[in-house]
Amino acid sequence: MKKFLKQFALGLLVFIILNTIIAILYEYPTYKSVKNKTNRNYLKWEAIHNNKNTFDLILIGTSRCYASFNPIIIDSVLNTNSYNMATSAQDIAETYYSLQEIFEYQNPKYIVLDMFFEASDESYDYYQTFSNSSFFNSKKRQLNLIYEGYGNSGILNYSIPVVKFKNYIKQDIAGILSKNKSLRKEDNWIKGYLYDTTIVSDTQISNYEPIANFSTSSFNRDRFNTYFNKIQALVSSNNAKLICVRTAYPPTRLELTDPDDEAIFFDSYLAEQQVPFFDLNTYKDDQYLYNDKDFADYHHLNYKGAKKASMQLVEALKQTKNN
C-alpha cells in the first residue's frame, strides 16, 4: 500500500508540474501583454474603471459585436460617448457579471446587447471568460461568475490549467496535423472595437455552412432565459435602456439556412419581453445590403461591414429613442 500511495503521489506531482507548464505556456503571453499594456481585455476594463461615469452607451456581447460596431461612427452621428465592451466567446453569464462591474463605474443610458445562440450554449471558452473576468476589480464578482455561472465545472476549469486551456491545446494539436496555417493581419482597436481589414476569401465563402439552428447547436433556453432576465432587471434598476441586436451574417450563409431558428426565436422572445430587437440581417436592408466580402470570416464583419452595421445601429437607436 505504501508503494502504491507513493506512486500515486508521484503521479499527482507529475500532474501538478504538467499543469504548471501549461499555465506558464498559455498565461505568459497574457501576462506579458498586460505588462506591456497591449492586452485588449485589460485595456477595455482600464477604460471602464479609470473613466468613471463617462460612457453613455455600452456595446456588449461576443466577438461578433466587437467586430461590428465602431464607437467613433456611432458617436459622430449620435453625439454620444460609447464604448465596445464585447469580448471573445462571451457567454451570457459573463455578460451579466460584466454589466454588474460596468454599472459600478459607469452610468450608461443605453446597453446594446448582441444576440447569438452560441452565447448561451453548452460549450464555454473558460479561458476567455476567466481571462476577461480577471480584470474585474471585484474579486467577489469574479468568484460569483465562476461558481454561480458555471458551477463545479467552472471551479474545475478555473483551477486546473489543462482543463482551462483545453480549447487552445486542442487547436494547437490540430494545428500540428493541419497543413494550412492562416496568418491574420495585425489588429487595430478603437474604443474596444476591432478594426479588421481582413476580407474573406472565395475558398472560405465556398465552404460556408448554414447558421446554427436548434438541432445543430446546444443552445440552452433555460440558461438564456435565466441570465437574460437578470440582465434586464440589472439594466432597468440602473435606469438604462436595453436594446438587443442580432449582428449580420454573410448572405451566402443566410441563403443556406432554413429555418433561421436564431432569428425567429430572438424575435418572438424579445417581443414577449418588450425589449427592442433589431436583426441587422433584415433591418433597413434596402439601405444596408451586406455582401460576403463585408466579412473577415464566416461570421465576423470586417471594417467595410462594420461601417454598415454601425450606421444601422445608429438608425435603430434613433428609432428606439423616438418610440
Binding site: 502504491f4 465545472s153 474545475l156 483545453k166 491545446i169 494539436i173 490540430a174 496535423l177 493541419s178 446546444s218
Partner: protein, 477 residues
C-alpha cells in the same frame, strides 16, 4: 454519479481510503462499507429507486435461502419462478410497459380500430437491466445447485449493488463475484496499479473516443437526409466507435475500479472489431450478456442440439431477446434479428467456431485474408448498428437507403480530421495490445519514463478533447 464526474473523483478516494483503513481481515466491515457506498453511488442519481434495488435484494436473498432448505422439485420451481417474475416483472414494467401499450394501440389503428389506453410517465431506473440479471443468475445457480445460498445478507447486498458494475455491467455471475465477498481481500500493488491503468484507458475511450464520435454521429443521424452516402457511412462508423468506446470504456473503468478494492470482475469486451466473422464478434462483444443468455436461455431451450428448426428457432430467440433487452423499440428487435441472420449460416454450416484464436497472433500485421474478413465483419455490424442507433425503423431504412445510393462514392461532406486521427490512434493502440485483457495492459515492457509520457499524453488528450458530455449509452438500458 458518472465515472467521469467531479463527484466520482471525490467519492472514489474516500471510499478507497476507508476501505483499506478498515483492513482486509475485517471482511464484514468492508462489505458494509461497499454496500453503503454503492447505495450512495446509486442514490446520487435518484434516491427513490434505492427501494427497488433493496426489494430485489431482499426477494432473491430470501428465495436463495428457501431454495437451500427445500428439496421438493415442485416447491423449488415455484420459488425460482417467484424470483423470475419479481425481477422480470420490475424490468418489464419500468422498461417495456409503454412500448407494449404503444404497440397495441398501433396494431389496433392498423386494423382500423381505436384503442384508448394511456401510457405512463415512467422513469427507467438506471441499471435495472443489469442488476436484475445479476440477481437472477444467483437464484438460477442456487436452483441448479451450482452455488450454495448465502446466509450473509450484507455480503449479498454488496454483491447486488457493487457500485463499479451496478449501472452498466459487466453482468457478474454469482459464482464468480459472490464468493469474493466472503474472503479476505489483500491489497495487491500490481493489481491496483493495473486497475488504475485500466481505469485510465477506459476514461480515454469514453471521453476522447466515444463522446467525440457521438457529436458527429448525432449530427449525421439527426440530419441524414441532408448528407450523401459516404457521409452516412462515416456517420455509422462514428456510431460504431461511439458505442464501443462508451460501453467498453465503462467496463474497463468498472473492472479497474473493482481491482482497486481487491475484486476481480470478468472481462466484457475482447477487441470485437478485430473479429473475423460474426460468431467471433459475439464471443468478443458484451461477453457478460451474451454468455448470460447462452447459459440461462439458449442452453435450457436446447441450444444447438436438436434439429434444424430448433437451431434456427433458438438462435432467433436469443438474438431477438438480446435486442429487446437493449430497449423498448422495434429497432432493437430488428438489430437482434439481423444479427441472427448473420449468425445462422455459420451455425448451420458448423463454421461458428473456426476463429477462436487471436487474429494475427504474434505478428504485427494481419494477412490480406484476415484483413478482408475483419473488414467484412465490421461492415455488416455497421449496417446492424444503424438500426441500433436510429430513432425508428423508418429512420433506419431511410438512412440505409440514402447510404447505399450512388453518392456512396462521392466526397465525404463532414470530415473531422482531428477526431478521425484520434480514432486511428485508438485502433492502432488496441491492435498492438490485442493480446492483453485491455489495450495497454502490457505497457509494462516500456521503460518508466516512456510509460509515464504515454499516460500524460492520454491525460492531456482526455482534458483537451473532452467532448460535450454524453450520458453513457448503456445507462438507458
Amino acid at each position: 454519479m458518472l465515472f467521469n464526474s467531479l463527484e466520482f473523483f471525490i467519492f472514489l478516494p474516500i471510499v478507497f481510503g476507508l476501505y483499506w483503513v478498515i483492513g482486509g481481515k475485517r471482511i464484514k466491515s468492508q462489505n458494509v462499507l461497499i454496500a453503503l457506498a454503492s447505495y450512495v453511488f446509486y442514490g446520487w442519481w435518484d434516491w427513490r429507486f434505492l427501494s427497488l434495488i433493496l426489494f430485489s435484494t431482499l426477494v432473491d436473498y430470501s428465495i436463495g435461502l428457501a431454495l437451500g432448505k427445500k428439496e421438493k422439485l415442485k416447491t423449488r420451481k415455484i420459488l425460482l419462478w417467484i424470483s423470475i417474475c419479481v425481477n422480470l416483472g420490475f424490468l418489464g414494467f419500468f422498461k417495456y410497459y409503454n412500448f407494449f401499450i404503444d404497440s397495441l394501440i398501433d396494431s389496433f389503428t392498423f386494423f382500423g380500430s381505436e384503442l384508448s389506453i394511456n401510457t405512463l410517465n415512467i422513469i427507467l431506473p438506471v441499471g435495472i437491466s443489469f442488476y436484475t440479471f445479476q440477481t437472477l443468475s444467483y437464484t438460477i445457480d442456487v436452483y441448479n445447485k451450482k452455488l450454495e445460498p448465502t446466509k450473509d445478507f450484507v455480503g449479498f447486498m454488496a454483491f447486488v449493488s457493487f457500485f463499479p458494475q451496478l449501472v452498466a455491467g459487466p453482468i457478474e455471475r454469482a459464482t464468480n463475484l459472490l464468493p469474493q465477498f466472503s474472503i479476505e481481500r489483500k491489497f495487491n500493488y500490481k493489481n491496483a496499479v493495473d486497475g488504475l491503468r485500466q481505469v485510465l484507458w477506459g476514461l480515454f475511450k469514453k471521453i476522447v473516443i466515444a463522446d467525440n464520435c457521438a457529436k458527429y454521429a448525432n449530427i449525421i443521424f439527426n440530419n441524414h437526409t441532408e448528407y450523401n452516402g459516404s457521409t452516412l457511412l462515416l456517420g455509422a462508423f462514428f456510431f460504431a466507435f461511439q458505442i464501443y468506446g462508451d460501453f467498453s470504456g465503462y467496463s474497463d473503468i468498472a473492472i479497474g475500479v473493482s481491482r482497486l478494492f481487491g475484486f476481480n470482475l470478468k472481462r466484457n469486451f475482447a477487441f470485437p472489431y478485430f473479429s473475423r466473422d460474426i460468431a467471433e464478434f459475439w464471443r468478443r462483444w458484451h461477453i457478460s450478456l451474451s454468455t448470460w443468455f447462452r447459459d440461462y436461455l439458449y442452453i435450457p431451450l436446447g441450444g444447438s442440439r436438436g434439429g434444424l428448426k430448433m437451431k434456427i428457432r433458438n438462435t432467433f430467440i436469443i438474438f431477438i431477446v438480446s435486442g429487446f433487452w437493449h430497449g423498448a423499440n422495434w429497432t432493437f428487435i430488428i438489430w437482434g434479428a439481423l444479427n441472427a441472420l448473420y449468425f445462422l449460416p455459420l451455425l448451420l454450416t458448423k463454421k461458428n467456431r473456426i476463429n477462436t484464436n487471436l487474429v494475427a497472433e504474434g505478428k504485427y500485421f494481419p494477412t490480406l485474408k484476415e484483413l478482408r474478413q475483419m473488414a467484412f465483419t465490421f461492415f455488416i455490424t455497421l449496417i446492424a448498428w444503424v438500426f441500433f442507433r436510429a430513432d425508428s425503423v423508418a429512420h433506419a431504412f431511410s438512412y440505409l437507403y440514402n447510404m447505399f445510393d450512388t453518392s456512396l462514392f462521392s466526397e465525404i461532406e463532414v470530415l473531422p480530421s482531428t477526431i478521425l486521427t484520434l480514432v486511428l490512434f485508438f485502433i492502432a493502440t488496441e491492435w498492438l495490445g490485442r493480446s492483453g485483457q485491455y489495450a495497454i495492459e502490457k505497457i509494462d515492457f516500456m521503460k518508466k519514463p516512456i510509460r509515464w509520457a504515454f499516460y500524460i499524453l492520454l491525460i492531456i488528450l482526455m482534458f483537451s478533447f473532452t467532448g460535450e458530455e454524453q450520458q453513457f449509452i448503456y445507462f438507458q438500458f
